[in-house]
Amino acid sequence: MVSLTVNERRYDLDIEPEMPLLWAIRDVIGLTGTKFGCGIAQCGACTVHLDGVPIRSCTTPASRAVGRRITTIEGLSPDGTHPLQVAWVAEQVPQCGYCQSGQLMSAAALLARTPRPNDQEIDAAMTGNVCRCGTYQRIRRAIHRAAEGA
C-alpha cells in the first residue's frame, strides 16, 4: 500500500512502491491531465509539483512522493483561473495541447520562485519541456503576460 496526497486529496493505492508516479497518477488514481511523452525525463509532458518543485513523474518512483504534496494540472487552480491558464488562453497557446499540462506546471513553478522571469530564466525553466507543435514563442509570451499581470 502506498499513500499519496494529490491535489490535497489522499489516495491509498495498492501498488508497488517503485511504480513511477506518472502511472500511479494516470492509470491507478485516474487523473489523466498529466501526460506520458517519453518515460525517460526527456520531454516534460509528465511534469507535476512535489512540494511545489517541478519533477518528471515518469522517472520518480511513487514511494518518493509519500508524505509529500503532489500537485497536478487538475490541481493548479480550482477553476482554470491560475494567471498562467488565463494567459495561455489570452495568447491562444495550445495547438494539439498534449504537452501543455507539463508546460503549465513548469511555468507555474518558475513564476512561484521567479515572479518576473527574463527570457534567459524562461529558457532555463522551460527547456526540459518539448512541444512538437512548436508553440514556444506563445508560451514565452504567455509567461511574460502572466508575470506582468501578477
Binding site: 485516474g30 489523466t32 491531465g33 488562453v89 498534449y98 512538437r132 508553440t135
Partner: protein, 723 residues
C-alpha cells in the same frame, strides 16, 4: 476509474441530440446536393448542423482536431452563413460514416492540409440553407415577407417592427418547412466571423486544465492496458517465445499473439512495460530479409537508381540539349534522411470487441481507414464496428495509419475485455512510417549573363501513391505526383525544365510526414536555386523576383517576407540571411531566416537561428490566428528536421529510440517568429503543412551565406559548416 470529461460530455451531447427533437439541416435539398456532388463526384447526402430548442447550434466535425484548429474553423464556416450566436456553438466529432467523406474521395481523412479546402463550401452552404429555413419560419410565424427579415447572433428579426425570435424558438416550425433549392453565400465584405481574430479557439479552455480527452486518456469499465512487442527488424516475425516470466510479473494478465508481434496485457501501463521487458529476453525472432540493411547501403542503392533517367513529371523545352550546349553547367546531389513523426502523444488505441459489436476509441486522422482495420481485425460486419475519435496529441500524418488499431482490436478480441494499447516512445520512434529517404540529382545551365536556361531534377523516392493505391504508378506512367510536389510546379521562368521521378523502396516503412513530397523539394529546389544564382553572379532574392515574373502571387509573397524581415537593411554583425519560397497544398509561403554560426571551424560548430519571418498567401482567411499558429509551428517542425534529427538504420532496425538521440528544437533554440498574411480573395489553401516544407531551404541558404558552405544534406551537422 476516473471519467474523462471530454468524452463524457460528448456522450451526453449525443444522448441529448437523440432525444431533443431539434432542427437538423444537412440531409438537405436535391438541387443543392446536386451542385455539391458535381464538385466532388458523390451523391451521398451530408449532415453538418443541428439547432436545438435551447439555441445550441451543433456542428458535426468529420475533420478531427490535432492542433490545426479545424474544431474552430469548421463551426466558423457554418456559423458565418447562419449568423449564429458564437457562444451557443457546440461541436460533435463524427465517427466512421460514409456520408461525410465527399471532400476527400469518399474517405474521412484529416490530412493533406485539405480540411478547409474541401469543406469550406459545403459547410457555408449548410449554414446558409439553415438560415434561410429559419427566416422562412419566422416570416410565416409573423405573417410577413421574408425580404423584411434579417438575422444576427442567433435571432431572426422583422426589420420594420423590430420584433425578433431566437433560432431555438423556431425549430419546430422550421422542421416542417421545405429546404431551399438554392442558397446565396455572403460576400466577404459582410463577414462577421470569417477572417476575424476575435474568435478564440474552442478547444483551448480544456487544453489548459487537463480536461481535454486524448486517446491515451480513454478509460472503459473493466479495461486492461497493453503494450505490443514488435520485432526490432522491419519485416521480422516471432519465431518462438516463452511467456512464463512475462506473465509472472505482478499485474500482467496475459501475453497474446497479434499480427504485429506479442501483446502484453496488464492492469496498467507500467505492469505491461515490465512484462514486455521480461518477454523481450524470451523471444526468438525470425528477422527476415532486411536484417543486414544499413543507411550506408540504402544510400548506395539510391545512388545507383539515380544513374538512370526517371519518368518525366515535367518537360518544358529540352533541358538535356540546353545542358549539353551551355557555357556553364553544374550538377549537385542532395540527400535527406528518414524522419519520424514523433507526435507528442505516442500511438495508442482502445478497443472493445464483443460478440456482436466492436468499439474503438482513438486519436486518428482517418475514421474510414480505422473502421476498415477494425472490421478486418474483429471479423465483424461493417455496421457492427464503431469508431469514436478523441483529441489527437499531434498527427503530422502518422495518425492516418492504422497499425495501432489492429493491435488494440486483436488484443481485445483475444482477452475478451476492453484493451487500451499504448506504445512507448521507443515503440513509436522505431516503428513509424517514416518520411522517406530521398536522393536527388540537380542540374543547371547558365547563359553568358549567368541566368539559368536549363533546370533539371531527378528525384528517387519510395512512392506513397503506389503504397496507398497499388497499381497507380502504372496508370501515371511511373510518376508519383505526391513525390514531385514542389518540384514539378517550379514557378521560375526558365525555358528548359525537366523533372524526373524514379520509384525505389529499400523496404523501410514510409508514410505521409508533414508536407510530404514538398518536405524534400522545398529544401532541395530552393537551396539549389541559391547556388545557381551565386554561380551566375546574381543576388538570390533579386533573381527569384525576376524569374517569378509570371507568378505575381508568388512574387508578392516573396517581397512581403523580404520587406517585413528588412531584407534591404544591413545584416547585423556576425549574422547572415537566407530566403526561400514554395507553393504547396494550394498555399504560397516565403520565409526569411537570420542565423549565425558559432565556432564554424570546430567540432562543436552550431547554427543559431535568431529570427524567422514568414509571409503566406492562403487565399481568403477563415481564422487568421490559426494560420499564424500553423505557420509558426510548421516552421519549428521544419527547423527540427533541418538542425536536429534523423532516423538511421543499422542491421535493419532504427538506431534512434527517444528524444535524447532524436532531439527536438526546444524553447532555448526557438527563434523569434513573425507571420504576415497576404490579404486575398482567392479560394482558401491549406495551412497545416507548407511552412514545414519552406523553412529548411531558407535555413540552408542562410547557413551558406554565413559560412560559404552549401548544404547538401539534412540535418545540418557541424562538419558541414567547416570552412
Amino acid at each position: 476509474m476516473t471519467r474523462t470529461p471530454t468524452l463524457d460530455r460528448r456522450a451526453f451531447l449525443t444522448v441529448t441530440a437523440a432525444a431533443g427533437g431539434g432542427l437538423l439541416v444537412g440531409n438537405y435539398l436535391g438541387p443543392l446536393q446536386a451542385s455539391l456532388a458535381a464538385a466532388d463526384g458523390s451523391f451521398e447526402p451530408n449532415i453538418w448542423v443541428r439547432i436545438d430548442a435551447d439555441d445550441t447550434v451543433r456542428v458535426m466535425l468529420t475533420q478531427l482536431e490535432m492542433g490545426q484548429g479545424v474544431m474552430t474553423a469548421m463551426p466558423m464556416l457554418v456559423g458565418e452563413e447562419l449568423d449564429v450566436d458564437w457562444s451557443r456553438i457546440a461541436t460533435e466529432w463524427v465517427g466512421a460514416d460514409s456520408r461525410y467523406g465527399a471532400g476527400f474521395g469518399g474517405q474521412q481523412i484529416t490530412a493533406g492540409s485539405n480540411s478547409i479546402r474541401a469543406y469550406w463550401r459545403p459547410l457555408r452552404e449548410a449554414g446558409a440553407a439553415a438560415r434561410q429555413v429559419l427566416v422562412a419560419a419566422a416570416a410565416a410565424e409573423w405573417g410577413v415577407a421574408v425580404e423584411d427579415c434579417s438575422t444576427d447572433k442567433g435571432r431572426v428579426q422583422h426589420d420594420p417592427t423590430g420584433r425578433s425570435l431566437r433560432y431555438g424558438a423556431l425549430v419546430d416550425r422550421a422542421s416542417r418547412l421545405p429546404v431551399p433549392a438554392e442558397v446565396t453565400l455572403k460576400e466577404p465584405g459582410s463577414f462577421k466571423l470569417l477572417g476575424r481574430d476575435e474568435v478564440e479557439r474552442l478547444d483551448i479552455p480544456e487544453k489548459v486544465d487537463g480536461r481535454a480527452g486524448f486517446g491515451i486518456d480513454v478509460q472503459r469499465p473493466g479495461m486492461l492496458v497493453a503494450r505490443v512487442l514488435r520485432c526490432p527488424v522491419f519485416g521480422g516475425k516471432v519465431a518462438k517465445y516463452d511467456a512464463t516470466r512475462a506473465t509472472a510479473v505482478n499485474g500482467v494478465r496475459d501475453v497474446v499473439p497479434v499480427s504485429a508481434g506479442l501483446a502484453v496485457v496488464a492492469d496498467n501501463y507500467w505492469a505491461a512495460s515490465r512484462g514486455l521487458q521480461a518477454l523481450a529476453d524470451d523471444v526468438t525472432w525470425d528477422e527476415g530479409p532486411l536484417a543486414d540493411l544499413t543507411t550506408a547501403e540504402i544510400s548506395r542503392r539510391f545512388r545507383e537508381k539515380a544513374e538512370q533517367p526517371g519518368a518525366p513529371a515535367r518537360n518544358d523545352g529540352d533541358a538535356d540539349a540546353a545542358l549539353a550546349g551551355a557555357a556553364t553547367t553544374f550538377e549537385r546531389v542532395f540527400e535527406v534522411p528518414y524522419l519520424a513523426h514523433a507526435t507528442m502523444e505516442p500511438m495508442n488505441c482502445t478497443a472493445h470487441v464483443q460478440a456482436d459489436r466492436c468499439d474503438v476509441w482513438l486519436p486518428t486522422q482517418g475514421q474510414t481507414a480505422t473502421h476498415g482495420a477494425a472490421v478486418a481485425a474483429s471479423g465483424l460486419a461493417p455496421d457492427q464496428v464503431f469508431v469514436h475519435p478523441t483529441y489527437m496529441g499531434g498527427g503530422f500524418g502518422r495518425r492516418g495509419e492504422v497499425d495501432f488499431v489492429t493491435d488494440a482490436v486483436e488484443a481485445s478480441k483475444a482477452v475478451g475485455r476492453p484493451v487500451k494499447v499504448v506504445w512507448s516512445r521507443e515503440d513509436d520512434m522505431q516503428h513509424d512510417y517514416y518520411r522517406p529517404y530521398t536522393y536527388v540529382r540537380m542540374w543547371a545551365a547558365l547563359d553568358a549573363d549567368g541566368t539559368p536556361v536549363a533546370w533539371k531534377q531527378r528525384l528517387v523516392q519510395p512512392s506513397l501513391l503506389e503504397r496507398t493505391r497499388p497499381g497507380a504508378l502504372a496508370a501515371t506512367r511511373g510518376i508519383d505526383f505526391i513525390s514531385v510536389d514542389g518540384a514539378a510546379n517550379l514557378p521560375y521562368d526558365i525555358p528548359n525544365v525537366r523533372v524526373e521521378y524514379t520509384e525505389f523502396d529499400p523496404g523501410i516503412p514510409f508514410g505521409f510526414w508533414r508536407s510530404v513530397g514538398a518536405s524534400v523539394n522545398g529544401y532541395v529546389v530552393e537551396a539549389f536555386f541559391d547556388e545557381v544564382a551565386a554561380a551566375g553572379g546574381h543576388d538570390p532574392y533579386e533573381l527569384r523576383r525576376r524569374l517569378l515574373r509570371n507568378h505575381p502571387r508568388h512574387k508578392a509573397v516573396l517581397e512581403l517576407a523580404a520587406d517585413k524581415h528588412g531584407w534591404s537593411t544591413p545584416v547585423p554583425e556576425g549574422r547572415a540571411r537566407g530566403i526561400s519560397i514554395l507553393e504547396c497544398f494550394g498555399t504560397i509561403v516565403a520565409i526569411a531566416a537570420e542565423v549565425s554560426v558559432s565556432a564554424p571551424a570546430d567540432a562543436d560548430a552550431a547554427v543559431h537561428v535568431h529570427r524567422m519571418t514568414c509571409a503566406v498567401d492562403a487565399g481568403w482567411t477563415v481564422h487568421p490566428d490559426t494560420i499564424r499558429g500553423q505557420m509558426e509551428g510548421g516552421m519549428i517542425y521544419g527547423l527540427t528536421a533541418a538542425l536536429k534529427s534523423e532516423i538511421t538504420i543499422q542491421k535493419g532496425r532504427v538506431a534512434q529510440s527517444n528524444f535524447h538521440d532524436y532531439p527536438m528544437v526546444r524553447m532555448n533554440e526557438a527563434p523569434e517568429i513573425a507571420v504576415h498574411i497576404v490579404p486575398s480573395t482567392e479560394n482558401p489553401g491549406g495551412v497545416g503543412e507548407p511552412s514545414t516544407a519552406v523553412l529548411p531551404g531558407a535555413l540552408a541558404n542562410a547557413v551558406a551565406a554565413a559560412t560559404g558552405k552549401r548544404i547538401y544534406r539534412m540535418p545540418i551537422r557541424p562538419e558541414m559548416l567547416r570552412a
